[in-house]
């Protein structure tokens, strides 16, 4: 039996909403994922952590079908994401919301219009209903009063909250967060953390949070994957992961400057470089 599945909490209904199997992906000759298996259980917040450059964002783009894996596959609710034509892929994407690191709000539209955008594009709802829906979504993220502002007038944290309201507009089943806490002050970090948790629980969503803010993410997630060097190096519920014995994972979780990920970029020895060793 697959060890990944046995490690999952066993109280959720049905198989995982998103299943990653044998994923291989790389740019050019650089391999980002080398045989990765992951499950994202329904109704849960699953965190993906790892050092910068380990492909955390890449994984979200693969799940969103923006990029194709070289081998292996990803299924969403049992449907293979990468075996869809454009119409099929777009149908799947309407059931996903994604929060980009900087919000990715459309800069020529107001906050209100940004949240209304997916509704206008994908539904035939009358204007009055769109207005009500948008205001409710904005209320949920505490920005109903900011509806007439433009993206350039928002702080980073506010932009992410608007993006969250927009991601929720079509009532998705899955929300993916790309580094939602990076560069936030403590207050807006707290706000965003609470939002990720409450939105997930109130709407019965499945959430994937990609981050390297160890303490924050551990505190809100139900299950954690630590990836590094193209592999999953630790996984489990936050408490299990905190006890991990993997050296690589320990270095990352404890923030040690030196370890399996060396402080020094690979180079010849210093003595050689300075010409101190006789040739």
């Amino acid at each position: 039996m697959n060890p990944v599945v046995t490690a999952m909490p066993n109280d959720q209904p049905g198989p995982a909403l998103v299943q990653v199997r044998g994923l291989r992906f790389g740019y050019g000759r650089k391999l980002i994922f080398d045989g990765v298996d992951m499950d994202f259980a329904r109704g849960r917040i699953t965190a993906i952590m790892g050092p910068s450059g380990t492909g955390k964002t890449t994984l979200l783009r693969l799940i969103g079908g923006q990029w194709r894996p070289q081998a292996g596959g990803i299924t969403f609710d049992g449907v293979d994401i990468h075996r869809q034509n454009r119409a099929g892929l777009y149908r799947l994407r309407k059931r996903m919301g994604m929060l980009f690191q900087n919000g990715a709000l459309l800069t020529d539209l107001s906050v209100f219009e940004n949240v209304a955008f997916p509704l206008r594009e994908h539904t035939q709802l009358p204007e009055s209903m769109i207005r009500d829906l948008v205001l409710l979504k904005l209320q949920a993220v505490g920005l109903r009063g900011a509806r007439d502002l433009f993206p350039e007038e928002l702080s980073g944290g506010m932009a992410r909250r608007v993006a969250l309201a927009r991601a929720m507009a079509l009532e998705p089943e899955l929300v993916m967060y790309d580094e939602p806490f990076t560069g936030q002050d403590p207050i807006s970090m707290g706000v965003l953390m609470r939002l990720v948790r409450t939105v997930n629980d109130a709407l019965g969503l499945t959430s994937i949070v990609v981050s390297h803010d160890v303490v924050e993410v551990m505190s809100i997630s139900d299950y954690v994957y630590v990836i590094s060097g193209g592999k999953v190096i630790a996984q489990g519920e936050p408490d299990q992961v905190r006890q991990t014995s993997s050296e690589r994972a320990r270095q990352f979780l404890d923030g040690r400057p030196d370890g399996p990920v060396a402080f020094h970029y690979p180079a010849q020895s210093l003595a050689e470089d300075l010409g101190l060793e006789a040739a």
């Binding site: 783009r61 969103g64 923006q66 454009r86 777009y90 149908r91 994407r93 309407k94 996903m96 919301g97 994604m98 980009f100 690191q101 900087n102 990715a104 709000l105 459309l106 800069t107 955008f117 997916p118 594009e121 994908h122 993006a163 927009r166 079509l170």
Partner: protein, 256 residues
């Protein structure tokens, strides 16, 4: 030799990608037409961006043409033909070409920068993840807008160059050419064919510039350097393409 081969290979690869992109763009055009408000907004944006520079350049080019033309024509005592000289030079050649060059510098670069920044700030990826095709929502309306705005701008340019602010001002008001002769020569000398060929040129140039601009922006690297490279290449490649196409089109039209 190898270097030339590499450059040629690069060029052909880019041309291939750009052609594929054009096909996708054309396929997205019907969906863009379903959003007339978006299209009108883009026509307004690219048109209004370029309007002032087109109007002023048109007037100055008309004035210079009239001055130079007057000097040459007066050697033959043919200054009454000034109108037709200015009109034909502008309608057949300078109108479409200069407008397209200015359009590439003003609107083309702005289009490339705008789309490039949308790429760099994940707005295009964001749209894709919202199941909205950025080709239909962002690229196609801008491409169409350039295609529609160029002939309008070229016509404005020509009117400015021939009319009261340009050639007419220098030729008639300043140098004393008979106004009746100026207009009647134009009336008799300019044929529908000239105007049609002028329109064809500006349509082709408009499509070319917007194609290059949208392609460069859409495929720019998502960095500040990438966006700056996209704007620069838009202007350089558009200008070269306009001049080369002008030669080809003129050669074809000449043989008609």
């Amino acid at each position: 030799m190898n270097a030339i081969g590499a450059i040629l290979g690069d060029f052909l690869a880019t041309l291939g990608r750009a052609t594929l992109f054009l096909l996708q763009l054309l396929l997205a055009v019907p969906r863009a037409l379903l959003r007339p408000r978006l299209l009108l907004r883009q026509i307004y944006m690219v048109g209004q961006l370029s309007l002032i520079i087109i109007v002023i350049s048109g007037a100055f080019i008309g004035m210079v043409l009239a001055l130079e033309g007057y000097r040459t024509l007066s050697n033959f005592g043919a200054t009454s033909s000034l109108g037709i000289l200015v009109a034909l030079s502008v309608i057949r050649e300078l109108g479409p070409v200069v407008t397209a060059l200015l359009f590439a510098g003003r609107a083309g670069s702005a289009l490339a920068a705008e789309i490039g920044l949308m790429r760099a700030t994940d707005q295009l990826s964001g749209m894709e993840m919202m199941a909205v095709d950025p080709l239909a929502y962002v690229a196609a309306p801008r491409f169409l807008a350039g295609f529609i705005a160029m002939p309008l701008l070229a016509s404005i340019f020509s009117v400015m160059a021939i009319g009261a602010a340009g050639g007419y001002f220098v030729g008639v008001i300043w140098l004393g050419v008979d106004p009746g002769a100026y207009w009647s020569q134009i009336h008799q000398g300019v044929e529908v064919l000239d105007i049609r060929q002028s329109l064809i040129k500006s349509l082709v140039f408009g499509a070319t510039v917007s194609w290059i601009a949208v392609f460069q922006g859409y495929h720019s690297a998502p960095t500040s350097e990438g966006v700056s490279r996209a704007t620069t290449s838009t202007v350089v490649m558009s200008s070269l393409a306009i001049l080369a196409l002008d030669f080809v089109l003129t050669a074809f039209m000449f043989s008609q």
